[in-house]
Symmetry: C2
Subunit: 337 residues, 2 copies
Amino acid sequence: MSETNRVWRLRRRPVGDITDDVLSFDEEAIPEPGDGQFLFRLNYLSLDPTNRAWMNEGATYLPAIPIGDPMRGLVCGTVMASRHPEIAEGDLVSGIGQWAAYQLGDLASVSKLPDTGPIPVIDAFGVSLVGPTAYFGLLDVGQPKAGETVVVSAAAGATGSIVGQIAKIHGCRAVGIAGTDEKCRWITDELGFDAAINYKTEEIVPSLARHCPDGIDIYFDNVGGQILDAALGLINLNARIVFCGCISAYNATEPVPGPYNYINILMKRARLQGFIVLDYMPRYPEALAALGRWMGEGKIKHRLEVVDGLEQAGATVRRLFTGDHKGKLMIRVADPA
Amino acid sequence: MSETNRVWRLRRRPVGDITDDVLSFDEEAIPEPGDGQFLFRLNYLSLDPTNRAWMNEGATYLPAIPIGDPMRGLVCGTVMASRHPEIAEGDLVSGIGQWAAYQLGDLASVSKLPDTGPIPVIDAFGVSLVGPTAYFGLLDVGQPKAGETVVVSAAAGATGSIVGQIAKIHGCRAVGIAGTDEKCRWITDELGFDAAINYKTEEIVPSLARHCPDGIDIYFDNVGGQILDAALGLINLNARIVFCGCISAYNATEPVPGPYNYINILMKRARLQGFIVLDYMPRYPEALAALGRWMGEGKIKHRLEVVDGLEQAGATVRRLFTGDHKGKLMIRVADPA
């Protein structure tokens, strides 16, 4: 075990983009576990749009990260020392932790990672983070019926790519919106989406209308903004909008208005529902079992973009907002033994 | 029977407010009922904010009124001649009709008004129009639980005043937002709301926070705009927003943005649901039975503002948008015999 910890800490709240002065990367002493706690070293750190929202002053679905605290993140690690009876040295754990090479955990924030079988731990961890979001968001909130049209934004992203594949498994038409031709080809050619729209090169409103000739029954929104407005303009009666994310607003420095087509929610008697996957924690085993089965059957594919080295986290998290990544973005510190 | 009909027709689509050139009031021949139709004379014409939305070019929950057509409205009339076996001369009917002294109906658009007992027809008609909106919107969409806080905008209006009273019947805290001190006194002193806010003289955000110390569980929205934003800023986890109307947007000439606190719907995992009472037509008897019972028990009070003369409709409908009326606004042409 190295003698020194390395910890990313939040030093100031970002105004707009995450600038160099927002986070510091410090050498610190490795903490000692108290009663009921355990110490684990970081294997993988997931980078997610929600990281940016946590940096803001207001509470999101979790409290804002206090200034000076370690940056919060979704982590996978190997236990080095334990003072909890159910956790032993060598156990793999995952959950909500810190951007820190060594950190303390308890069973309120992290849990043991089940045996991943033939699936590499990094892949199982990656899918375990975003798969339940896609699973519960689409199936529980969206309530798809065979033959319906499901549109998903950030469709080549970690969550969106799985949403479209689950929609196909349920007999829906899946239309994805992404920001490069490569991403569009990937979701149609590799993942089986029925259509993809490059919102950076195509006019979103007519293109969406062309690819949704029967209107939109479910819109799974990760982005907000103009794409949300385009989708709301095409919703069918009793449509459902799964409000999963709003990445277009996270870096905003001015108040961001809601969608201009807001009133269409009334006219179409649509249901727009905010959705945070943490509310579904007790049902994760159901989702992970289904996702594992579909992965084994080749019906769910995913991709990770892995960047080596915890020191890269500060620069890499910004790539979530430029669209300059493919699939789940992950920092690898060390593969588990 | 008078020899001449008088009909309000839509001559141009309003831009912003309803100006004098939008509607014409013409003398015309009285139409003859065809097979399955009946002719009725107008007793009462209800004036409702939705009238304005129907004048716009785009479809709402009903098709836009074609230019040149009679103005559409909610009507109560007495049958003069019938070519439908279930409808006889002298029957009272109500439903979706025209701003016309004489008009044709069929059972797709209007239905027989049940015997109103000791309740005057004009009151029964008035409550039958807005009562089901309050009933299904609050109870079915809002799903109130005893002890929750229900906030309603346009709370002294025809629908909002009943929403608050049903909330009280269900053991909720009812907070109303209205635009004059007289309206605020009426809903607290006469109707039993727990609190009222005059949004024209009070700062809405702090005032709402003061009157909702436990946050907002259900917001029944009739208005949109800044009041919606204030409410969204105070919603509790798993709040429900009953999206019933958006009167602040109906007269707009520029695109109207959605609420600035839109993202709070995500953070609070709230459900915002568009609601049009026409979808509940098959369940009207349930609502009307409950409303009749509560009216008989003195638990639901309402008020009508009645203006005499069909020729007043064009000027009177504009008062919906100035707040210059109290309760359900109604044109009386003739009481039924």
